[in-house]
Symmetry: C2
């Protein structure tokens, strides 16, 4: 399994205009993250989960979970993914996951509740520029969940909780990359490691 | 300098609906390629050129050139980039580059004319799944221009010309990745090489 958690600091928690994804608290960033995490050319990766933590107005926090193995009818363009997210944020929600579409779920959870749930099945890895090089550490990580901030990064309030759960702090580049680029590179380094070592993913 | 040429096999050569980028010959793929080639978090790479070869209806071929050093008012979301492309394909064009916006140019060139022009300043590298690993070859490439196909790949007609000009055939992954993922990884391997060797980019 591979997981990705993206922190949407201002991502709105109500239905939004699909023709203005940046105006919906930079929902475009989250859409690109979903696309890069799930899709290969003409196919979808298996055993990938994406979690979007939406912290924007008017009803934060909300978490959207997308599970590649059950997902249907999603394409990799921002508008299509935005449509799925818009549908999910319109649901009446509780602490328990509610399925809004095949493979897409939404719940009212804060980051602590979410990481408490995920840390039982994933090795929590926080992607931060000053971390250890992902290339040097990749061999030691089983079932990673990578946490990445959006254009704003990760605020102290969330970071303190992330650091409590994180087993590793990893860096993908000396440059400050966009969130979706970090995801692509994390996949790439994992793919390369597993292929070179003939390990099944 | 780093260059990227993306082959848009069906990308339309007339203004299109920004709310249906996939329907415009998968213009969404080209928009994501531009985004991943040019943008870092909160900034733009310097010395990057992106070339989009549009081969779709009704007036192929058209080439759009985007030069990061002069580019203004572009943001990394698909719709914004699509707007710039839509404007460019609406221009009356000739064999010579016409500037349609600061840093964006359009011309009527086929792939042979384009590669003939670019091969004087770039090392032409063709990204194909069966190529040599980019990681092993990156040290030897100065001023690379990476050629990548869209969702359809590269057809024989264009590939024959590419192979004439290509100095290297490189692979970024054993998996069949989306075009924009190949671009992100090419940047990543180049960044890593240059940073580790203290070479200015």
């Amino acid at each position: 399994m591979r997981g990705f958690l993206i922190i949407g600091n201002e991502a709105v928690t109500e239905p939004f205009n699909l023709s203005d994804l940046p105006g919906a608290g930079r929902m475009d960033v989250l859409c690109r993250c979903v696309s890069q995490a799930l899709f290969l050319s003409h196919s979808m990766r298996r055993d990938v989960e994406v979690y979007l933590l939406l912290l924007g107005k008017p009803n934060p926090p909300k978490v959207i979970k997308i599970s590649s193995n059950e997902l249907r009818r999603m394409s990799p363009d921002e508008r299509n993914i935005g449509g799925h997210i818009r549908k999910a944020v319109g649901f009446k929600i509780s602490k328990d996951w509610v399925e809004t579409n095949s493979g897409i779920f939404v719940a009212k959870k804060n980051i602590e509740e979410l990481l408490d749930e995920l840390s039982s099945s994933y090795t929590i890895c926080y992607l931060r520029e000053d971390g250890e090089s992902i290339r040097n550490e990749i061999y030691s990580i089983k079932n990673p969940l990578f946490i990445v901030g959006d254009h704003i990064g990760v605020k102290k309030q969330e970071e303190d909780i992330i650091l409590y759960y994180a087993v590793k702090i990893l860096s993908v580049s000396k440059l400050s990359l966009m969130a979706e680029q970090c995801i692509t590179i994390a996949h790439y380094e994992l793919d390369k490691h597993y292929h070179e070592n003939f390990i099944s993913i």
